[in-house]
Assembly symmetry: C2
Homo-oligomer: 691 residues x 2
Amino acid sequence: MAARTSSTRPTALRSAAQIPLRPFGPTQDAQDLRTPRIPLLDPSPVVAGGFTPKAFVGEVVPFSVVAFREGHDLIGVQLRLTAPNGEESLHRLRPRLDGTDRWGAEVALDLQGGWTFGFEAFSDDFATWAHATELKVAAGVDVPVMAALGADLLARAAAEKDRPAPQRKLLSATALELRTAEPDRILALSTDPAVAAVFRERPLTTLRSVTGPRPLLVERTAAGVGAWYEFFPRSEGARRLKDGTVKSGTFRTAARRLPGVAGMGFDVVYLVPIHPIGTSNRKGRNNTLTTEPGDPGSPYAIGSPDGGHDAIHPDLGTAADFRFFVRAARKEGLEVALDLALQASPDHPWVTEHPEWFTTLPDGTIAYAENPPKKYQDIYPLNFDNDPEGIYAEMLRIVQHWVHEGVKIFRVDNPHTKPLQFWEWLIATVNADDPDVIFLAEAFTRPAVMRALAAVGFQQSYSYFTWRNTKAELEEFLSGVAHDTSDYMRPNLFVNTHDILTEYLQFGGRAAYRIRACIAATAAPVYGVYAGYELVENVARPGSEENIDNEKYEYKVRDWEGAERTGDSLAPLLRRLNAIRREHPALRQLRNFATHWSDDDAVLVYSKHLDAVFTATGRPDTVIVVANVDPHSVRETTVHLDTSIWGVVPGEPFEVEDLLTGAVWTWTDHNYVRLDAFDEPVHILRVRERS
Amino acid sequence: MAARTSSTRPTALRSAAQIPLRPFGPTQDAQDLRTPRIPLLDPSPVVAGGFTPKAFVGEVVPFSVVAFREGHDLIGVQLRLTAPNGEESLHRLRPRLDGTDRWGAEVALDLQGGWTFGFEAFSDDFATWAHATELKVAAGVDVPVMAALGADLLARAAAEKDRPAPQRKLLSATALELRTAEPDRILALSTDPAVAAVFRERPLTTLRSVTGPRPLLVERTAAGVGAWYEFFPRSEGARRLKDGTVKSGTFRTAARRLPGVAGMGFDVVYLVPIHPIGTSNRKGRNNTLTTEPGDPGSPYAIGSPDGGHDAIHPDLGTAADFRFFVRAARKEGLEVALDLALQASPDHPWVTEHPEWFTTLPDGTIAYAENPPKKYQDIYPLNFDNDPEGIYAEMLRIVQHWVHEGVKIFRVDNPHTKPLQFWEWLIATVNADDPDVIFLAEAFTRPAVMRALAAVGFQQSYSYFTWRNTKAELEEFLSGVAHDTSDYMRPNLFVNTHDILTEYLQFGGRAAYRIRACIAATAAPVYGVYAGYELVENVARPGSEENIDNEKYEYKVRDWEGAERTGDSLAPLLRRLNAIRREHPALRQLRNFATHWSDDDAVLVYSKHLDAVFTATGRPDTVIVVANVDPHSVRETTVHLDTSIWGVVPGEPFEVEDLLTGAVWTWTDHNYVRLDAFDEPVHILRVRERS
């Protein structure tokens, strides 16, 4: 497989295809024509609408372009990259040879910031000559002419002043020899590996044509990689009192949960809104319109006399307590993500200070959030068109306030209910100051809207993953996010949320929880879990797709350690999955997802592979996942693998090790599997390197 | 269905969606953001790479754009068109309501030249209010508030100074009434058809957002519509002499064939190259390397001491004879297309006058065309990189010479063996002088190359049609050309050529010829036939995909009238097919192709429909084709139609008339068919209008 290239390689990237840098030089592109001399079409990565494609530090990005020329002469294609530090590099593309005329190269971009990329095609005169000479000498046709053409060509290359001296010497000598050589020797010279190596490193190029440069934004790794854990801080350390009410947890008590979360191997702890909660029309338990004493209200009804989006709920503590929590998280290797829910309870300070930010009705009241004729009387939505400048400035202030408090990740609630234009502006403005800030779009809506939110700047997106449960659905969904939209959209595969408890989880028992966690953790580099998943909290409010006694409206007092002691917790599985993710860089990529065949319509098979050049160990990394997605059954079937992806010739045996059980098997491209949903529903296999 | 709109409609287009013109007015687009206030994404028609999309005069073009806004408020979307004469028009788009957020409108563009189009979205305040009011009044919620909001909204619309006075009066009166109305009356007013009509014609718009304008090139109708007939003029009127040799036909004798071609209903007569043919290394019959006396040579080996690409083969006659032929064709309603084969025989005047236009080898000889190690010693290819300016100028001179002689259509031989850049330049340069000139690309090569040739300017393209013979192949191919590439690529469905006799035709007998002609003539608006098709000349040179005794290397003496007298000719079928094409405007469109289901894997079903607004008669036109594509069988099956395409409710009966046999049946959306390949392999049905 691919090998690391020479030590002259810039530190900002990894690529198996890098070649010595050369200037573009004069090109033959007519200024008034769209088509360069050698057409370069449909360059990728690309985002429709002219938005900038995205990658994350360490992501292996497939660059490609359609290139061809008239007739039979051969061409070469190169990728020219400019890193944010101005460093240029050149990478040779390989033809895909699948009839599409597409050429590609993979490069891992290791420096955050704005990159540019362009493609360059050229007539590969040496390759054309060598190919024709091989055919013609074998056929005894034009032998002296081909020798003379070759001699001229090599002499021309030898005359290139900026070509290294040893190359020039070899080419001159070969040119001289070609002028007098016999056919056998001509054939040998036209296929001489030393000469071929010279031109592979530095081709003789004519008709040079260019396209680009185009921008590519590389964001920090956490934009594309991470295991998220969501909790309600008020529940962590909450205590049930003797009178049956619950005393709220605080940032101090919630901080005690952080070692547990970190111990499971999570990277990000996401908190639902931490701000004061309104009391007007506060919702009671299970979303009822009446409250009982002690009902804490939905944290999404933001704002009270205690403050708004820049304030902290008094029950949770003070600003100092929050800072303590953030520091405690950091000590555990966890990053804190906050919820950004841009809406107000009727008690929010905005309502009196900036009534113009809402919609005032003819009767003088402020319009509630609604889906006519339904109304949500605990929420006033903002009206961004009344005072855009004022609202934009306030939203920016709020985000910057929390950035200042050490928060660099925001989970944005319902971004599709605010103007798309606002998000483009807000994210660009925040990132101009601090490119480390990450926004996750919580938009469960139509595909065009979700894609547009990602295109205008959201670093991550909730996805349809929760509702893709059959093998066919998962194959289509996972291939789509890995290959169709990965230039701009990064799905965060949450297995559940405080608002989503799918029928699959409601009725699939413990097996369903295990299967979904295994897939989410391995199919994409970002996934998430909402607290309680490990306890298999799978009872829904009847007729709904959310938990009964939704934590949004009440405290949850859970016994994490107790559940783990009795063996009822899935925490050990999550811990193992996150450990596997850390050990296997192939799982920290999105675009390397590949489906494989199985004969059973419930047995999903996919692999993730990374070439050696892209791993820290310098060894290739391959993980194969085989999952029985029917949580009620035992399945026996044959899986059929395209082993060429990890460099194994079809039919050749190789060893796999199950990373969940430690079992080791010798596999080929066709393998029997038995997956018992009640016992061992998923294999997560690493391919062992041959010794 | 759609109706023609008012008489204020510009003469340059037809559309059912046209609305009175209004200026764009101020928009709320932030200058530095990509996203307007209401997002307008993925506009269509569009061509990747920034090339200009194309249509032809009379083509019904589907314009569409993805548009949505945050929240529940409703939007409207409009298309603004500017004709080549500067005339502007505005057309309302309809949401597709298929979950894609795509809005569309169809417009027939009736003026040749450069158009522009742009999209405009706005908050449809009236529709939002009317929708919410209907729901809320029914639920008894917010009734006085909704009435007040409606009164304000109608008063605002009534105050628009450029709104017609009767509209303003109605709106003022309604506003006044709303302020005091009872709930029942409010409900009635919110759904009042008169008020709705006012806003349908002229919505109350806020948050106006625009994208575009973008260019769209409308070419003359013949660029996209026509029935082509290919012949070798030297064969038409050729006579076999007593010594067994053949005396060449001339333009005068070939002109006698024109009434026959026109009588079959063809629009274009395409001639293989008419220039002097070289004698050096002339190919003999069946592509042999030796000639017999009297062998005329391949007309593609262009050039002799008699002249080159601007000269006429002496056997065919003089320049005056050629002009006579062009005039005779015109008199028959036929347009002449010439072959543009940019290559030279070794005897071409270029070889001595411009040796720099070829590749000279180290031994001083000029390089033959080759596919190493094969060589084509009767042909020298041009080397466009040696003297681009000189070659470009000469090629332009040649084209303009024939344009001056009355030829406006060129079938370009192997354009993929010349630089793509050259074609972009040549076509743009020729069309700048004369936009009526049409170039047909004869490129049988990889998809990316064929698509690129179309994108850079070729008005028509040969296609893979000849090799798409099964039902599945045809469904995929025909849907693809109608929907995926139709913004820039127009396939000319030749059923055969002098170089292509597919296995389907070789072994499918007479039925195969009938089936392919029926499909070619009805599935796309441009198709072609090479002379001899009507005689079912289906014997191939063994092992090849071309006719034995290929006409490229010899004369063909055929008896057209005799074959027709004995009933052996397919001319009557071609005549009928071309008549059907003339009678049915739906068949003169590409993009309206729709496949339907049949239960038999050899019975292909498709329809072509045109709304009444787009036909000259003002009546809708619908043609359904049901073809048994297995030429060796009788098939009985059920076809299942999506009758909603032509406005028939599923299950409702309608009458169809077979345009080939005159049979009339009452059909529904499910119909029994029996197609006997040996007798009646295809139904071409028109849907009769209900009286």
